[in-house]
Symmetry: D2
Subunit: 344 residues, 4 copies
Amino acid sequence: MTKVGIINVTGYAGAELARLLYLHPEAQVVSVTGRSAAGKALSQVFPHLWPLDLTVTEELSDVDFAFSALPHAASAEAVAPLVRQGLPVVDISADFRLADAAEYQRWYGVEHPAPELLSQAVYGLPELHRAAVREARLVANPGCYPTGALLALAPAARAGIIQPDVVIDAKSGVSGAGRTLGLVYHYAEANESVSAYALDGHRHLPEIVQELARLWPGSPLRVTFQPHLVPMTRGILTTCYTPLADGGLPAGEGAKAAVRELYEDAYRGEPFVRVVPEPPQTKHTWGNNLCLVYPTVDVRAGRLVVVSCIDNLVKGAAGQAIQNMNLMLGFPEAAGLDQLAVYP
Amino acid sequence: MTKVGIINVTGYAGAELARLLYLHPEAQVVSVTGRSAAGKALSQVFPHLWPLDLTVTEELSDVDFAFSALPHAASAEAVAPLVRQGLPVVDISADFRLADAAEYQRWYGVEHPAPELLSQAVYGLPELHRAAVREARLVANPGCYPTGALLALAPAARAGIIQPDVVIDAKSGVSGAGRTLGLVYHYAEANESVSAYALDGHRHLPEIVQELARLWPGSPLRVTFQPHLVPMTRGILTTCYTPLADGGLPAGEGAKAAVRELYEDAYRGEPFVRVVPEPPQTKHTWGNNLCLVYPTVDVRAGRLVVVSCIDNLVKGAAGQAIQNMNLMLGFPEAAGLDQLAVYP
Amino acid sequence: MTKVGIINVTGYAGAELARLLYLHPEAQVVSVTGRSAAGKALSQVFPHLWPLDLTVTEELSDVDFAFSALPHAASAEAVAPLVRQGLPVVDISADFRLADAAEYQRWYGVEHPAPELLSQAVYGLPELHRAAVREARLVANPGCYPTGALLALAPAARAGIIQPDVVIDAKSGVSGAGRTLGLVYHYAEANESVSAYALDGHRHLPEIVQELARLWPGSPLRVTFQPHLVPMTRGILTTCYTPLADGGLPAGEGAKAAVRELYEDAYRGEPFVRVVPEPPQTKHTWGNNLCLVYPTVDVRAGRLVVVSCIDNLVKGAAGQAIQNMNLMLGFPEAAGLDQLAVYP
Amino acid sequence: MTKVGIINVTGYAGAELARLLYLHPEAQVVSVTGRSAAGKALSQVFPHLWPLDLTVTEELSDVDFAFSALPHAASAEAVAPLVRQGLPVVDISADFRLADAAEYQRWYGVEHPAPELLSQAVYGLPELHRAAVREARLVANPGCYPTGALLALAPAARAGIIQPDVVIDAKSGVSGAGRTLGLVYHYAEANESVSAYALDGHRHLPEIVQELARLWPGSPLRVTFQPHLVPMTRGILTTCYTPLADGGLPAGEGAKAAVRELYEDAYRGEPFVRVVPEPPQTKHTWGNNLCLVYPTVDVRAGRLVVVSCIDNLVKGAAGQAIQNMNLMLGFPEAAGLDQLAVYP
């Protein structure tokens, strides 16, 4: 068994890593850290992790592989020495997602703590960068919103059937904001309410733009990404709207079948993307690593509309991180990720 | 006191009419109908309406004003004879919203039951058609989605600052689907889940298009309207995205203040529309007749983004119906509609 | 109009006072305090209170009546000088509920800040102490749990049909815990979960015991009160279980009708207690001041079972406070409290 | 692999069986039935079960083991011929839980369809009847409420530390009511509301009484069982209250540690019962087969208070059914049941 460590196990992504790895056939969590909870039993912090006999410590020890679930900046600081020692790492924070350190500083407001590592970091969306992930020692796990948005848009962008003018309207459950307290996430305030936030620009926008630009080289991209908070614990539903490019698809109703076929071809064989025949619910992914994608065309308006669903803590965080680890270590890509969604 | 009747009080819009009218200073509900519940006390059907001492009957009797909360087609059939007798009516169904009977038939799949009344029906969005509502005998109460979308878009459309290329992404609570049972609205299935629906076209689309076209004569409109179901009881949050027209607004960040000022001017003095300084939550309208509007600009993408919130059962149905009644009967427009939102 | 002040308007009870008083025909809020928000507009803190043109200040000024919605201890300190100046006050905190200062210290862990006022304070459950409330200058507004429990038990206790051996199992929405942040009330943790808390004794227990003892003088009371947190914003449902006293009710099924009649007699004419014919839902009281009571008998086990529902922020806090103010100032008892519950 | 069939896979218990068995190392679902959905792919009915390549049929075929998730009466009719043919069966319905056919008829209102099988049926609560389950060919899977209540009470009842006078107050999520539509389970009505139901007696009461009587022979039992509906999808929290028997426990605070030790001893080695050090949340069991038990004493009132949590669809239905199958077929008891709870 590969010995795995989780840095900052006390947030939701960290806890979810521990939950999923408990059933992993080739990896075992042997060390977990967390500043505020250091010295406590993990099962005291998270009773649902009761069979994991681990004590939260300040530093990792004796691991062959590390996940970092720290906040940005802190994560790069913690991860950089490990990477330099040659430890393979998946970083769930935003620190190694943007290739450009200046762009990082613009959006995160701090100087990048380890810019020299950016060139070796791979953006860990396996459906776009599988080969590179396999070779990587440092993988930047994508943000939850970019995961949903990019999987919804990639086949159309690659195929050139849409104009580079994209509206991404995302609806996220509250766990996406993490375990840190805030009035906005206080039950009585968040419950029975929907709101839009980050109307001046969300930090996941540059990540989406960077990856769309790779798919769509040369195009001047016009991307609006608008996140919303909805009263549920887990899940992101992303609805993407893009005008069709001229001549890319058959006219009229035939466009729907054509775009569907395009997506099915693009994702054939993918273990964690399913092109579904009916509009999906986020709940169909509760607790599991799938991304469900439903592409269609608004024929009246000449617009591609794609809906995707993920569990923000799994395919949007911990599950995808394990998928990346599996690729990096040569395990079967789906190892440890075969639990079905819990429904209803 | 004006004697008011409610046709089909047994759905949510009907019950909400009864709740709000209980405190109306100039009107009193004296007759309520409902086929399945005929003969029952209203308080048996809806215990929260306990002080209304009314029995559900099959037909209205002795009223000076009628609301119909029947489903489409049935509503026009019930309402037509009343209108012909000269009774002023607000119809909450879709039957008199579309001016064109052919368009009605296309979307609702039935021949219009009273096409000869269409020309006298007024689309009852007071913020757009107040003068006409005052003169009307038959008011078609707008759909819940069109209310949120049109109030979000009208000032920009009128001012010509946007291109006629609109994406409307709406998120509705479950009560919007009414009291009729369905697996999609079964608690265990709807809870903790978001989904998109009606991807082939929702019946509120032609209504939105009709009214936008009135605001924007001559433009070839390209409108995508996509509704979503979110796990809450009440509320619609609508996010609208439209490319800016050239030269309509100052460049750069100044566009935000300019669009805000435009909206504040447009809605100055409106009793039920507030242009709010922070992105609103649907919960800020729970149980009351406000529409909250937050306009801004995505400066990077050159796009207007407007968020609006309403309670779908109040400004999106019963409250707006009472606002229309107030106008038709010469009462103060806000009579009976002064309860604040229940928060949290 | 009587000029009213609210001390600590920034919590949920304070905000609810402001909401309800907005429609009060004889009283007007003219001054509101709140330490952390001092200097802000009230509508900035609570957007749903937008039409109240008030600035949050540090001290009340120029009021004829005051409500305190401060936490315990702080409340007595703030209220004592006002009472000494002769201002009539309703204190929503626990400070003046327990007649015995030692008992107060035992449960709240602090010395009582104004024990000399305890003798003049009246426990403001109008259904039990209406005459005294009318004469009082200082009313201690009951806790939310005691309100639900006492209204469920009082008629049976008074009538002597039960043994003084009571289990009170209460289920509360999350707003009962207030606006202070905590992991237990974080949306992702509180949602989709029920838990029992305060298993070593909740501070509302001595209040329940004190009032039951007044109803049941001489009996050695054996009371277990167990609160639970349920995933909803508002509402308390209380289920009370008590063995029947011998000979108090007819044997067999007849006991059900007899206990029902007893309760109907006890609450006849009460404006805010309804003995309902079917088991109620908390939602039937959402936003309004009713307590719904459903008494029955478990004939097999010889036990009285009474279910009550209230909105914890209305009849359990702000609404009852206004009811008390109405009595103290000679207004109609229901003034300002006639809004129906918002359902669904 | 043992070939397993699920009769009536289209309800929640059936779907949950399919979900959990997907990861079972020794059993494979090969045949699933469901009248209304016959002919459809299982993944069409339940998209989260997408990798199970099964078609819903009218009859089971070629199985070594069967689960029935039919409603009562229908289940006995379907199961009886299978049992007679010698197929081992776990019946999730109520049909074989009550040993006495007359008692069955009294509570379920129909004559028992196969009374001659009652004597061979074993009540499948492994923690009480493990040895018998191992030998059984027909196991009656316990109801969800009895599972939570009996595991909470069994150690105390066996040890004789309580009086046979029990109040069981249970709070269940809405999935317990199944997939059949009803206004009570309509999202808009069930959400944000708690209610008590079945105040004249719930069908799970005789089952609880039967099993308590087995633990407590000779005592005249006085049991009140009161279920409540709470707005969440999964989970049952059960709070049990019982007066302490004289001399059973040390006096004063020492009683708490003593009762805790008693429970820890009773459940030592049980794979699916955990005596937890802090009051549990239902969410700690979301999707998994644990029952969490927290015993304590209300020292003031001299009452045992025990709180238990289960997922009603897992330990309360499908998970326990698989645990029973494992015992019947000689598999490790926890086979296929090792997924941790999904939290938050």
